[in-house]
């Protein structure tokens, strides 16, 4: 469960008006049309619609939430609730490289604390941090189902397995 600080009051009507003619890329719109012909209800395509937004934009702004609400026949408040429930939807921009290091039990036993320390030092970031240049963000995550190849870290969607601190630093170095 994520908790949300609602720092700004959302005016749904204003957001709806502002985004009334927003569209994703034609391929993404076509993909959503296809899914909506298969799924029993429009609302049930909300997760794939949110993924499509995040893949295009990198994160999900209030405006895009209003778009998703319209596209899925759902209330904006519902979309806001869903986006904040799932940890992988970003409500603010993350780095170009979003580094997720597993901190759970199997990785811990195989040396995750050393990986986390090395990565934190290298990037100069703590859990949840985004670098000022916008290139890096760091998150300590729960089990990534890579336990038998622990310790693991995932950068954007690529999983890196059987890491030692040196390997982890090398992988980051290659992205610089």
């Amino acid at each position: 469960m994520q908790t949300d600080n609602i720092e700004d009051v959302v005016d749904a009507a204003e957001l709806e008006a502002k985004t009334a003619d927003w569209k994703l890329s034609p391929e993404r719109e076509a993909m959503i049309d296809d899914l909506q012909s298969r799924y029993p209800t429009k609302k049930s395509t909300l997760l794939p619609v949110l993924w499509a937004i995040q893949e295009q934009e990198g994160w999900i702004s209030r405006e895009w939430m209003a778009y998703a609400a319209r596209r899925c026949d759902a209330a904006l408040s519902h979309v806001l609730g869903v986006v904040s429930f799932y940890t992988m939807y970003h409500r603010k921009p993350v780095g170009k490289y979003h580094v997720q290091v597993c901190r759970n039990i199997s990785c811990h036993i195989r040396g995750a604390p050393k990986i986390i320390a090395a990565v934190e030092e290298k990037l100069g970031l703590q859990n949840g941090g985004v670098s000022s240049c916008g290139k890096w963000s760091l998150e300590h995550v729960e089990c990534l189902a890579g336990c038998s190849w622990a310790p693991v870290m995932q950068i954007n969607r690529t999983l890196h397995e059987n890491l030692g601190p040196d390997e982890a630093l090398k992988i980051l170095g290659e992205l610089e």
Binding site: K43, V82, Y86, M88, I105, G146, S148, W149
Partner: protein, 421 residues
């Protein structure tokens, strides 16, 4: 040892449509489509196949719960959420044998009368998701997903539905909420999903590994499957072994295989000749056992239970002497606190406050009443909530305290008097 799931693992091209066909793939589906749905269910009942997602419920029996002729659509959800710490078996099945997994799912869909199936895959999965999505596309091109499959007159559609980072979506009713486009919050049972699930229609949720065994069962017969394993735990099971062993990995063994052999043979023994301290045999939610007890038990539902734990998902987490048990328990506490969906007070507060107490104990800043408080929290969060996530934190607390109390006490101030609740 007979392999059911890994019979064809590693064969060249077996992850392609043609490769899967070359090893006899889709024969089971074709055979099933010539049978009556009830006959398919009967065959799976005969096999004794039990759910591999954790609860171990007989698959054929569950399929039989779907009410007939309600006029409502029926849905199949394939549970590929795989988020239980220590568990990484479904990933291997999907990445290496995607068409076997899909064939099993299609047979199940036919047996229960579903026209639409959701392949619910956790959002973090990258390769598995790409492989599965591509495999689904191929099956659509080949007409194996679509109208009139293999000329049988049966229609089916299947979509890959990607989660977005929430352990609780692995719980079957949380998964259903997520498929419906909601927060992945579990729902009160009954009604059970088989009667009223997704979109308030009959829905069967099965784990990937459960369904992956179905083609073999249809090909070789339920009796052949039932001949494997033990009397009550039939067939084979995947164990994903992690932690302090030389060769962690995912291994298929017959039910009833000795833990000792799994660790010493398949996994090459302890890593760097370390001494083992403890083993969690079925994913992070089940009770931990001292290594000595765990190494003497066999890997079937009944034996593991008799030894004081549960077979769960088959995620075997091996812990050596160098690890601090309070630290490991604090890690699990943080996990459950992070993943509680927040609906039930005993779970939301119990995981939250429990985790804070576990953290401070592990950091050596605990107070003398912290252990009794944690025991009380664990008791109050067991059986008082909508789903089992709360109990999944209680079981580790209780078992870590039971077997490794001295490690916790060593970190706490000396207690002057024993106080009751």
């Amino acid at each position: 040892m007979t392999k059911v799931l890994f019979e064809h693992r590693g064969k060249k091209g077996v992850d392609t449509f043609e490769g899967w066909e070359a090893v006899g793939g889709f024969e089971a589906l074709k055979r099933a489509l010539k049978m009556k749905p009830e006959e398919v269910i009967e065959e799976v009942k005969t096999s004794g196949l039990r759910g591999r997602g954790g609860a171990g419920f007989p698959a054929g029996v569950k399929w039989g719960f779907v009410p007939k002729n309600t006029g409502k659509p029926i849905y199949l959800c394939i549970n590929a959420d795989e988020s239980e710490p220590g568990t990484c078996k479904d990933r291997v099945l999907m990445e290496e044998l995607p068409f076997m997994c899909l064939e099993g799912a299609l047979i199940a869909a036919y047996a229960i009368g579903a026209k639409l199936a959701f392949w619910y895959i956790r959002g973090e999965f990258d390769l598995s998701e790409r492989v599965m999505s591509r495999a689904v596309e191929v099956l659509r091109e080949k007409g194996v997903i679509g109208k009139d499959v293999f000329g049988s007159g049966w229609d089916i559609d299947l979509v890959v539905h990607r989660g977005a980072g929430a352990y609780i979506c692995g719980e079957e009713t949380g998964l259903i909420s997520s498929v419906e486009g909601d927060k992945g919050q579990p729902k009160i049972k009954p009604p059970f999903p088989a009667v009223e699930g997704a979109f308030r229609c009959p829905t069967i949720v099965n784990n990937v590994e459960t369904l992956a065994a179905v083609p073999w069962i249809i090909n070789k017969g339920g009796l052949a499957y039932a001949a494997l394993g033990t009397e009550k735990s039939k067939g084979t099971k995947l164990f994903s072994v992690s932690g302090a062993v030389a060769k962690p990995g995912v291994y298929e063994v017959e039910m009833g295989y000795p833990m000792h052999d799994l660790i010493m043979n398949e996994c090459g023994g302890p890593q760097f000749g370390k001494t083992l301290k403890a083993i969690i045999p079925g994913g992070s939610s089940v009770p931990v056992l001292p290594a000595k007890i765990a190494m003497e038990m066999n890997l079937d539902y009944e034996s593991v239970q008799a030894a004081g734990s549960l077979l769960g998902s088959g995620g075997v987490i091996v812990i050596d002497e160098s690890q601090s048990m309070p630290e490991l328990l604090a890690i699990l506490g943080r996990f459950y606190a992070h993943e509680s969906c927040g609906q039930c007070t005993p779970c939301r507060e119990g995981t939250g406050w429990g985790s804070r107490l576990l953290d401070r104990v592990a950091e050596g800043e605990g107070k003398d009443q912290d252990m009794p408080t944690l025991e009380r929290i664990a008791r109050f969060m067991t059986g008082t909530t909508i789903c089992f996530l709360a109990s999944s934190m209680a079981m580790p607390i209780q078992s870590f305290f039971k077997h490794f109390r001295h490690e916790f006490e060593a970190l706490l101030p000396v207690t002057t008097e024993a106080k009751g609740d």
